[in-house]
């Protein structure tokens, strides 16, 4: 076994421990260094992951795998972590708990990375919980802010419940097939399909992962948590943690439970339609931008779920590409919101609802870089051509038609048209309504994070070839394992 297969993870662990240790000895006003350190570590891990694309290997007694799928999702998580950690340099300024903040985020990312690599349900579950526990604490990071605490509490309670459901489902699979290995369960598919327990396990697993992905009707926590948690933590939850649920579901359903395909395909078809529709319709009337983005990320999860229904290499490639694009777009949008919230709070510390859409009025003049980036992110989310969102939708929706699910594509396209309204509303507030107050100098870390995200969104939009190639390769891994 080659330990260097896990060089990105090891780099992350080393970075996390270094941040924690160095943080102990630094005075509060020089803790900024930790942010730079963490960002560099994540960048190094990202580099190592990108260069390892194309490796195919199993490790640790076949419980962990390194392949195109795992590496692609690791890139998604590391990209989100990188944006998060750059933006957090400003957010944590002056706090005494910088090292905890970064360590939690880094360990959450490591958990997500191992979920992407898991080839055994036990590894998957442990890694899932590592990421979840870290993010529970992050959501409640603003200890004196009741909203943040409420968000964390809700997230924790529902998250533990979903973890328990998932574990319960896994035990049933173990009971029937006698193994927790993902290919092993797939091999025992006949026994699962013959037994009613198999169906029961599918229900439990859909519920368990549905909570994490925030599929309707398991979504109740998401808007409250995304709204209440600090904006940049929401970026990690919406852009990172949600994708962990998706990759876990990819592995559990498409690889392990392929024998029960007919059953879960129908379930996912219903969930996809309901989730995207409810997400988009509910987003229309929101006045809190974070809440609007939360509902929009429901809708986006609904689109990605279509990949479970269509199940062709192109659809899975489209879903996986969407996951990456969504990472850039959604993390970017939350970070832009964080910059606005920062601005509002620095003008008046006691502002209620700093993310209210009224605070976006005249942003085009007041914070030109943030406003322009936000415009690019929301247009990308809406699927305007030449952005990452359009490319992903193009691949995903067109594959849906190709596979003969034209009705599903029509619903998705109508949804996409609806979504343009609330996205355009943000743009209208930023550029066409006059704002109060003068121009503000935008904090550099936020600007850098936004610039990175904008480059990502436009790169996938203008030059999608390599991204599509690797997303398709990742999709092939899933289908090769299952069929």
């Amino acid at each position: 076994m080659d330990i260097m297969l896990f060089a990105p993870e090891l780099t992350m662990v080393a970075t996390g421990l270094a941040v924690l240790l160095i943080g102990l000895f630094l005075p509060v006003n020089s803790k900024k260094v930790l942010g730079y350190l963490a960002s560099l570590g994540i960048l190094a891990a990202l580099y190592l992951t990108v260069t390892s694309l194309g490796t195919n290997s199993l490790a640790f007694y076949d419980t962990v795998s390194v392949d195109a799928l795992s590496q692609f999702f690791k890139i998604v998580f590391l990209v989100v972590a990188l944006l998060f950690s750059i933006a957090a340099i400003k957010y944590t300024e002056g706090s005494a708990h910088v090292e905890e903040f970064y360590v939690l985020a880094i360990f959450a990312t490591i958990g997500m990375m191992f979920v992407a690599s898991a080839n055994d349900l036990m590894v998957l579950f442990v890694a899932f919980e590592l990421a979840s526990l870290s993010t529970y604490a992050l959501a409640g990071f603003e200890k004196k802010n009741p909203q943040s605490l409420e968000a964390a509490m809700k997230y924790f309670l529902i998250g533990s419940l979903s973890g328990a459901l998932m574990l319960f489902g896994i035990t049933f699979l173990y009971g029937v097939t006698g193994t927790t290995s993902i290919p092993g369960i797939a091999a025992g598919g006949a026994a699962l399909a013959a037994s009613p327990i198999g169906l029961f396990a599918v229900v439990l697993l859909i519920a368990g992962m549905g909570f994490k992905i925030a599929l309707v009707p398991f979504h109740m926590w998401a808007p409250d948590t995304y709204q209440g948690a600090p904006s940049i933590v929401s970026s990690l939850l919406a852009a990172g943690s949600k994708k962990m649920g998706i990759v876990a579901a990819f592995k559990v359903f498409i690889v392990a439970l392929i024998a029960l395909k007919v059953e879960w395909q129908i379930a996912f078809a219903v969930l996809a339609v309901v989730t995207m529709t409810l997400g988009n319709v509910a987003a229309l009337s929101q006045t809190s931008v974070k809440r609007m983005l939360a509902y929009s990320s429901l809708a986006q999860a609904g689109y990605i779920t279509m990949a479970f229904v269509v199940l062709t290499p192109m659809a899975l490639g489209g879903g996986i590409l969407y996951a990456l694009s969504h990472g850039f777009m959604k993390a970017g949008a939350f970070i832009a919101t964080a910059a606005v919230v920062y601005m509002v709070l620095s003008e008046n510390k006691d502002t209620q609802n700093p993310d209210h859409i009224d605070n976006f009025k005249g942003l085009g003049q007041r914070m030109p870089v943030t406003a322009l980036s936000m415009t690019i992110f929301v247009f990308a989310l809406a699927g305007i051509p030449l952005t990452a969102g359009y490319m992903s939708k193009f691949v995903l929706f067109s594959s849906t038609i190709q596979a003969g699910f034209a009705w599903l594509a029509v619903i998705a396209i109508i949804n996409s048209a609806i979504s343009l309204f609330y996205y355009a509303k943000i743009v209208k507030y930023m550029y066409f309504l006059p704002g109060e107050g003068s121009k503000i100098s935008e904090p550099l870390p936020y600007t850098i994070a936004l610039a990175v995200a904008v480059i990502g969104v436009l790169a996938i939009g203008f030059w999608p070839e390599p991204f599509i190639y690797w997303a398709m390769e990742a999709g092939k891994v899933l289908l090769a394992g299952g069929i």
Binding site: I384, P385, I401, A406, I413, L420, P464, I468, M472
Partner: protein, 493 residues
Amino acid sequence: MLLSLIVLIPLIFAVLTLLTKTREQARAVALVATVTVLLLTVYTYFNFDSTTAETQFEELYSWVPSLGISYHLGIDGISLPLILLNAIVMPLLILFTWNDDRKAPNRFYSLILITQGAVLGVFCALDFFLFYVFWELTLIPLFFMVSIWGGPKKHYASIKFFIYTHVASLVMLLGIFGLYFAAWDMTGTPSLDIPYLLSQYQFIGSGIAKDLIFVALLFGFIVKLPVFPFHSWLPDAYTEAPTAGSVLFVLLKIGGYGIFKIMLPMLPFTASPNLMITILGVLGAVSILYGAFLALAQKDLKRMVAYSSLSHMGYVTLGAAGLVSLSVSGAMFQQFSHGLIMSIMFMSCGVINKATGTRIINELGGLAQRMPKLAVIMVLAFMASLGLPGLTGFIAEFSVLAGSFVNLQGYVVIALTAIVITAAYHLWALQRAMFGVYKEKLGNVVDINGYQTLAMGVIAILILYFGLNPSPVLDMMLTNSEHIIGLMAGMGV
């Protein structure tokens, strides 16, 4: 390279315009951009071979090979006249608005340039991906144009326009997907290349699939055109838009372009060509008549002009359905001629509204006494619009009616009755608004300024010139029409 420049210069200058601080800078940058495009287009025109229907000035680069997307541009006799129309009117439109005082002039001119780039992009694109990107890009600047600088009902009008045409575009996208995958399944390689997909269309096995693809694409085009019964966004959007916005709408000839470029080559190979011809013919004839009646009933001058536009667009569909080279080239020429005529008509409405504060025809009267320059140009445009021989409108409408009579007698008879009504509403409106006794309560009205005279005058001269000598653009249209009709030979259509 030439076509890329024509498409990209407006888009690049749009960004530059956005960065300008004052009205003077914004309009100067916009003028430079549009004049550059005009010069490049004129150069293209003189190097264009109008005796062949082949694609010329082609540019082809691979872009996303795994999905079959390429950067493919090229023009033929269908697109070049429309590019020319756009390139000629745009600088004049900038001149027309030269002395207007409005909020945020940099955004205003920037949106005009984005629209120009997007429309020219649609005309040049030979890849469905690129085509769709530009097609959708036309929507955004026009939406903002109406919703920011529009009239009292601007929010309603802009949203209605947006939903209506966006939904239609999405239906069109479904049609594109259908064609793309049908061809992909047959040949095993993905491609979104327009000429390639059009050539593959005939080999699709399932007749229902063929018809669905055809109808989905057609829907996208006729809503944009628009024709009855999908026209209800038109009067609101055209009327509520600022004058420059209305002119941009008029120059948005992408719906008709799609019909000639994409629908007609596919038409003979649909499973039920006669049904499709009937649909086009009925929609065309009804639009001509219905639009004329609606125009007759309008009290608002600008709304009347908007409905007359609907009536004129009916000729485009009727001529396309006529399926002889005379009617098809006439319909193409109608697009060109309509662009010129309606530009002046909407400019006149804008000028009158600004000078008198009203557009209600009955409140106006005797304007010719105070606005003689406007009156001369306006009378010429109205005459062209009602189809007076010697002006462009006559050539277009006569060719359409005469050509369509071969295959579609019944529809032509319906359309002919509309000619009387068309003459009636034009003359009646002109007589009430411009002639007769001057209504003193309109106050001290001043005539159009020098820039406006120049802009409208040049277009008026072009209407006269192309009315007397249409061959500089009509020749290439004829070449392409004959090519399209040639495809149909032996198909039993």
